[in-house]
Symmetry: C2
Subunit: 400 residues, 2 copies
C-alpha cells in the first residue's frame, strides 16, 4: 500500500491521511499530513512539485485549504495517496518526513461558529431520566429536529491543552441560595465534530444532499462540562458557563473521503422527518470511541447508533437561512450506546453520581484534579479494515 514504514500501533494507517497544523522548534506553523507515526511536511513537497495552490500548506491554519472546496479537497487527497503509494516519490518525500514525536500540534483551524447538537437517543434519554425522572425521557421536539445550540468558538482548544477546573455558581435543590466555587461535577462528553470548508450565502439553505460539498472532515471532540454550574444556569436559555470554559478537539482532521468505506445506512427514523431533513441516502459512520480515564478503558461509545445524520444537522442548522463559514465546527453531541459501558459521559456512567465506577481500583464519579481523559476512535470499513482516527486528550488542573 505504501513505501512508508507503518509500525504496529501507529497513530494512523496508510490511507487515512488526515491534515493538521504542526510546528517544529522555532519554525513557523504549517500544514502536515499524518501517516503511521510520521508527519509529511506538505509545503516543501507541494512547492517542489509546483502543485496548484501549494501556498495553502504554508499557512498556520487549515482555513485557506478548507475554503477551496470539494474538488480541491479531492485533488489533494489523490495527490497524497500517490505520494505515499508510489515508490517513485520516495526521493521527493522522504526528506520531509518528521516523526510525530518531534512535532508540536496546534489547533488545526480557526473556529468560526461552534454548534453542539444532541443527536444520540440513548444520551438524551439517559439525561432525561436523570433530570426529569417522572416525565417522558425525550422532549416532544427531539425526534422531529436535531436539537442543538451555539457554543463558544473562542475556547475550542487543541488536544493536550490542560483544563483549568472552572468555577461558578451552583445551587443544590435543598439550598436556599447559590454558592460560588470550583465545579464539583466536572465531566466529559464524547463527540464527533464536523469541520465546514465551503461557505454558504446568508438567506440560503444547505440541503441534506449538499453535505459533502460543505463538510471536509471530522475531529474527535471532548465537550468538557460542569454539571453543577449547568444545572443551575440553564433555564430558560440553555447551557452557557457549564460548557464554555473548554472544548478539546483532536489535532488531526480526518477527511470524509477517508471514511467512505465506513459509511452505514442511517436507521429508520420514526416518526418520519419533514421533507427538508429527508433523503433516502442518509448515512452514519461506523465509528467506535474508547474512553480512557487515567489510562483505564471505561467506555466504548458506538457512533453508528446516532439517531440524526450529520447531513441532517447541517440542513437543520441552515434551514432558517443562516450562513455557514469556513471553519465552522458542529458536533454530534454526546455519543452513548444502549449498554452501560457505551455511555459517553461520566454523568451517565455514574448515573448522576449515584453509582460510582471503578477506575484504577478507586470508586469515582466525576473528575478530580490531576485526572487525565483520553478519547480515541476507530472506524470500521465494510471489509473489516480498522481505520484509526487519532485521539483527543486533556488533564484537569486545580481551580485558580
Amino acid at each position: 500500500m505504501t513505501w512508508i514504514d507503518i509500525p504496529a500501533n501507529a497513530a494512523f494507517g496508510p490511507e487515512t491521511l488526515p491534515l493538521g497544523i504542526f510546528r517544529t522548534g522555532d519554525e513557523e506553523p504549517r500544514v502536515g499530513a499524518a501517516i503511521g507515526d510520521q508527519v509529511i511536511d506538505l509545503a516543501p513537497v507541494a512547492s517542489a512539485q509546483m502543485l496548484d495552490g501549494a501556498q495553502v500548506f504554508t499557512q498556520p491554519t487549515l482555513n485557506a485549504f478548507l475554503a477551496q472546496g470539494r474538488p480541491a479537497w479531492h485533488a489533494t487527497r489523490e495527490w497524497l495517496l500517490d505520494l505515499v503509494r508510489n515508490e517513485n516519490n520516495r526521493v521527493a518525500v522522504e526528506p520531509h518526513l518528521i516523526p510525530q514525536s518531534q512535532v508540536t500540534m496546534l489547533l488545526p483551524f480557526e473556529v468560526a461558529d461552534y454548534v453542539d447538537f444532541y443527536a444520540s437517543e440513548h444520551h438524551a434519554s439517559n439525561v432525561g431520566r436523570l433530570f426529569r425522572p417522572d416525565a417522558e425521557p425525550l422532549l416532544p421536539n427531539w425526534k422531529h429536529l436535531p436539537v442543538g445550540y451555539h457554543g463558544r468558538a473562542g475556547t475550542v482548544i487543541v488536544s493536550g491543552t490542560d483544563i483549568v477546573r472552572p468555577s461558578g455558581q451552583r445551587k443544590a435543590p435543598a439550598d436556599d441560595n447559590p454558592a460560588y466555587g470550583p465545579s464539583q461535577r466536572l465531566d466529559i462528553e464524547v463527540e464527533l465534530g464536523y469541520v465546514v470548508g465551503k461557505p454558504s450565502q446568508l438567506g440560503s439553505r444547505v440541503g441534506v444532499e449538499d453535505f459533502r460539498d460543505h463538510v471536509y472532515g471530522v475531529v474527535l471532540l471532548n465537550d468538557w462540562s460542569a454539571r453543577d454550574i449547568q444545572a443551575w444556569e440553564y433555564v430558560p436559555l440553555g447551557p452557557f458557563l457549564g460548557k464554555s470554559f473548554a472544548t478539546s478537539i483532536s489535532p488531526w482532521v480526518v477527511p470524509l473521503e477517508a471514511l467512505e468505506s465506513a459509511e452505514v445506512a442511517l436507521h429508520e427514523q420514526d416518526p418520519p422527518v419533514l421533507p427538508y431533513l429527508a433523503s433516502d441516502r442518509l448515512t452514519n459512520l461506523d465509528i467506535t470511541f474508547e474512553v480512557y480515564w487515567n489510562g483505564e478503558l471505561v467506555s466504548s461509545p458506538p457512533y453508528r447508533e446516532m439517531y440524526w445524520s450529520a447531513a441532517q444537522m447541517l440542513a437543520h442548522l441552515s434551514v432558517n437561512g443562516a450562513s455557514v463559514r469556513t471553519g465552522d465546527l458542529y458536533a454530534s453531541g454526546t455519543v452513548s450506546g444502549a449498554d452501560k459501558n457505551q455511555r459517553g459521559s461520566f454523568l451517565e456512567l455514574s448515573w448522576g453520581g449515584r453509582k460510582p465506577v471503578t477506575v484504577k481500583g478507586e470508586e469515582r464519579t466525576f473528575l478530580q484534579d490531576g485526572d487525565e481523559v483520553t478519547i480515541t476512535a476507530t472506524a470500521t470499513a465494510s471489509d473489516g479494515t480498522q481505520i484509526p482516527l487519532g485521539a483527543v486528550t486533556g488533564r484537569i488542573l486545580p481551580a485558580v
Copy 2:
C-alpha cells in the same frame, strides 16, 4: 466646540466621535470617525501626522484598532477631539471629510463570539407571564446571575442589510405534529451591544472592575427573532434557529469614553449578588431607544432601568475561565421598561399577538414582508446634553 459644521438633526454631535468602517466607490474599506453628518477619513490624516499606529486605520475592520487596548483607545480619542476642536487642524482634516450620504458603511468589526444576555427585569417578567402564565414570572436563577447564551457570530450583519424571512419548524400546542414554513411570528429585540477589544487568557477571569480595560464601546443591536420557531425548538438547550438567521448592528461603534457623562448608578440589586459580581461602583447608562415601525414611533425603551450592569455580564461570562477575544460582542438582551410604550419587542408590545398595535392606521402584531424597523438611541448626559448614538435598521424580504 468644533470648527466642523454640525447641522440640526445630524446623525452625531461634535464629541461622540464613533468609529466605523466605510467605503467610497471602488476604494478599499477603511476606518472613519463620524461627526455631524460627515465622516473623517482617518487613514490619510493619521498618516500625514505620522501618528503612532496609524496603520490600524487602513484596515477593513476595527479589530486591529480594538486589540490595542485602553491606553491607545484613549490616545485616539484625545487626538480626534483635538482634530475637531482645534481650528488649526482644519487644513489637515477638511480635505478628508466625506458626507455620510456618500459612503457605504460595512460591518465595523469581525465578530469573534456573540453572547446575548437577558438583563431587563421588565422583559424577562413579561416573557415569563406570556409563556408560563401560572408560574412566577422570573425563574429562580434570574436575580442571582445575568442569564445569557451564545448566539451565531457569523450572522451578525450591518444595519441596512435586508432580512430574509426565516423558515423552519413550528408547532402550535393544538397541533399533533410540527409543520415547516416561513415564520409567522417574526419579531425584533431592541438591545445594546458591547464590543470587546482587549483579550483575556484562557483560565483567567475578567473582574467587574476590569470592564473598561476590555470593552471599547457600544453598538445598537436588533436581535431579530422568529417566535414560533423559537417556542418549538428551545427546550432543553435554548434558542437556536429562532435567532440565528440575523442580528443587525449599527455601523458606528460609540466609545465608552464618549458616554461617561451619561453614566448613572446601578439601582440596588436584591437579593445581594455573589462577590464576583459585586462592586460599589457599578453603573448603568442613561440611554433611551426609539423604535420606528415603518416610520412610526411605537416604543421608547429605557436602558437605565436594566437590572444587570454590563460589567457584571462580562465578569459572569468569564468567571469559569472562558477567555474573551478582540471582536467579541455581547448584548444586553431586550430592553423593556415598565410601561407598555417602553417594550423592546413586538411579542411584548402586542402581548403575545393578542393585543395588536396600530401602525400607520393598521392593526399589527408581528412583522410583515416589506416592513422596515429602525431603532435609534440617545444618551442623556448628567447636564442634560443629548448624545445621539446612531441607528440600526432592517427591512423584511419574503421567505425564499
